[in-house]
């Protein structure tokens, strides 16, 4: 089943009198359970596309179908609800609340959900999420007391607290060294294989893209290539390391 379908998505920013087209007709289908890497040069519009996919932004033109629902024309409140229930976000800079324990960070999205869990249920669910990302013994640590990789895993737990079918990650390893990047990527792979969560991540790093089972290459607002990682990353690595 198609989880996400984009048809002719365009995004144009208006800078005063000048119209800046950033996305120029993107059509795309992503199926349930895929692990997709989105690559491309800087300024090619990856983040812009991710924001539209993540329902943080609305396209200027085109259709966006998510789980059989056209979402590009939804109101801000409807999109907020959608983000809460169906979409998870992981950011490059973690974006954890400072001076707030890991467990409270993870439980935070629950307070905006329609479920209205009790304080205790929310904590239980957050603790369960944290133990799934391997931080069962760090529940009451504040972000400042955690390593970068641990912080990013807290962020992943937070993104998954409402059990969304899709997880978006904009350069999730951008602020991490290669060893902790690997930790986070293994986390993604596990979520992908064990829980069949669809993951879409933006990355510059071919090695990171190598973990995906599909790589989409963007250039100047259009899709340049769409293939499994071998075909995509091999010519790059051979070209990059003569």
């Amino acid at each position: 089943m198609e989880l996400i379908t984009l048809r002719g998505i365009e995004k144009t920013y208006q800078m005063g009198d000048i119209a800046v087209p950033v996305l120029k007709g993107i059509s795309l289908a992503i199926r349930q359970g895929e692990l997709v890497a989105l690559t491309g040069s800087s300024g090619s519009g990856k983040s812009t596309l991710m924001n539209i996919l993540g329902c943080l932004d609305r396209p200027s033109a085109g259709e966006y179908w998510l789980e059989g629902q056209e979402v590009s024309q939804l109101s801000a409140d409807e999109r907020a609800l959608l983000r809460n229930r169906k979409l998870g976000f992981v950011f490059q800079s973690f974006n954890l609340l400072a001076r707030t324990s890991a467990i409270e960070n993870v439980a935070m999205p629950l307070s905006y959900g329609a479920e209205h869990l009790s304080e205790r249920e929310a904590r239980e669910r957050a603790a369960e999420m944290l133990s799934r990302v391997g931080l069962a013994d760090r529940l009451d640590h504040h972000p400042a007391q955690l390593s970068g990789g641990q912080q990013q895993r807290v962020a992943i737990a937070r993104a998954l607290i409402n059990r969304p079918p899709v997880l978006f990650a904009d350069e999730p390893t951008g602020n991490l060294d290669s060893k902790t990047s690997e930790e986070v990527l293994q986390m993604f792979e596990r979520l992908h294989t064990e829980d069949h969560i669809t993951i879409i991540m933006v990355t510059h790093d071919p090695k990171v893209a190598g973990h995906a089972n599909r790589v989409i290459r963007m250039d100047d607002g259009v899709i340049q290539g769409d293939a499994p990682p071998a075909a995509e990353s091999k010519p790059k690595t051979t070209a990059g390391a003569p």
Partner: protein
């Protein structure tokens, strides 16, 4: 449930920066403290004022005879002689808005006991109803004279506290005999202390006696001649007075018995100096005035277009003026306190704006995980209200402590008012909502993408 979580989050956020929260809310603390102190002290003052007014005899009306004039020459207020004790009875009978009424005649003359003497402020001849009208029914000692004493013109009297002090040196006066213009009066009771009234008039410096006695034995004339003493009539009635020489000599030669038999003095109908009445309540005073005017105009046969031959005055005017004055003062101080609350509110708004800017990324993140604009609005609004309510609670403690201090150090009357506390809570929550709204609204209008990108 949702509100509770939001309030908890707000508390947690404020605890992260307790010093700043404290300083932010200081304006509210001072404002609410001032409001509480003002309201408690104001309530105490107006309570004390109410007591004073009540001691003056609340709901009291006074009727005095009007101005007589002849050939364009006015003789001054109280010079007509048309007011009678019968008027008083008619008013009691025919005016349902009047609770009680007492006729009064006044005299001012020397009082003697043993080797002491004193001229009291006033000697009032009246009926027992006077005590009821003046809210003075509870005596310090003894019994009031009764209606039969009034009918018979008995020589009994009730003394005010000042007289007991001056004539009896604080000893019990009941049962003793005093002399008023050489007429012996038996003291049957002593009035409870009332103190000075608002004009500085010592209300305890009075003697009350049956009006018949004062009228026919002491003054024998209307109040306008009260001080000119020594009426012929009183001498002839009071045989005792022959034992002592009268203080003032009569200007005219005394009439012999023959002269009197040949040429009897015309019997004057008894006019009185004033009637004191109490209305059922201060609300019924205008009604009472209307009814009394009707009755008196009819009894005095005043034509529809002619002016009244009496003056009707109510104390309510005075008490109203006084209570408006204190109310005005309290409101003025309250206004000052309100200004301080507004200043405090501006402080709250300022810090909330800073806080919104500081936490732009947090707002973006919350929106990204599903917070709607109104969730953000509520969060910041609740934060501002929690801040203000905390300040308000501290202000209540501070203000109440302040008013207690005033009570103990300055001995001012202070009344704890739950209304003030409720007002303070409402006002501080209101300030939080009013001044927290703009920052919260600004936060709720942020674009999640831009907020997340904010450095």
């Amino acid at each position: 449930m949702m509100m509770y979580t939001t309030a908890r989050t707000a508390f947690r956020t404020l605890r992260r920066n307790p010093m700043r929260a404290m300083l932010t809310t200081l304006g509210i603390v001072i404002g609410v403290g001032a409001v509480i102190a003002m309201m408690e002290i104001g309530a105490g003052a107006s309570g004390a004022l109410k007591k004073t007014i009540a001691s003056m005899g609340a709901n009291v009306l006074v009727i005095r005879p009007g101005t007589a004039s002849s050939g364009g020459v006015s003789f001054g207020a109280g010079t007509t002689t048309t007011l009678t004790p019968e008027d008083c009875q008619a008013i009691l009978r025919e005016c349902p808005a009047v609770r009680n009424a007492a006729p009064m005649v006044r005299a001012r003359t020397q009082v003697v006991y043993g080797n002491r003497n004193w001229v009291p402020n006033a000697i009032y001849g009246t009926t027992p109803a006077y005590l009821d009208v003046q809210d003075w029914s509870i005596l310090a000692e003894g019994e009031p004279f009764n209606d039969r004493d009034v009918l018979n013109g008995n020589r009994v009297c009730i003394l005010g506290q000042s007289l007991v002090r001056e004539l009896f040196d604080g000893e019990s006066a009941v049962g003793k005999e005093i002399r008023i213009k050489n007429i012996a009066f038996r003291v049957v009771g002593v009035l409870s202390p009332k103190g000075a009234n608002m004009m500085g008039f010592d209300q305890d410096d009075v003697i009350l006696a049956p009006w018949t006695t004062i009228k026919y034995r002491v003054t024998g004339a209307s109040a306008s001649t009260a001080n000119q003493s020594a009426s012929v009539a009183s001498d002839s009635v009071n045989t005792l007075s022959n034992l002592y020489p009268t203080a003032q000599r009569s200007l005219y030669p005394e009439r012999s018995a023959v002269q009197q038999a040949n040429n009897p003095m015309p019997v004057r109908f008894a006019n009185i100096d004033q009637i004191m009445l109490a209305a059922n309540s201060s609300a019924e005073i205008p009604l009472a005035i209307e009814q009394i005017s009707g009755v008196l105009r009819e009894r005095h046969r005043i034509r529809a277009d002619a002016p009244d031959d009496f003056n009707l005055r109510d104390m309510a005017e005075l008490t109203r003026t006084l209570s408006t004055t204190t109310k005005l003062m309290t409101n003025l101080l309250l206004a000052v306190a309100m200004i301080s609350l507004v200043v405090g509110g501006v402080g709250i708004m300022n810090i909330m704006l800073v806080s919104v800017t500081e936490r732009t990324r947090e707002i973006g993140l919350r929106m990204a995980v599903g917070a709607r604009g109104r969730d953000i609005l509520r969060q910041f609004l609740v934060e501002a209200v929690v801040l203000c309510l905390t300040g308000g609670a501290m202000g209540i403690v501070l203000g109440h402590g302040g008013s207690l201090l005033v009570r103990f150090l300055l001995k001012w009357p202070v009344e704890t008012s739950p209304a003030a506390i409720a007002t303070a809570v409402l006002v501080s929550a209101g300030v939080g909502i009013i001044f927290g709204f703009y920052p919260a609204w600004k936060a709720s209008r942020l674009d999640p993408i831009e907020a997340l990108r904010y450095e």
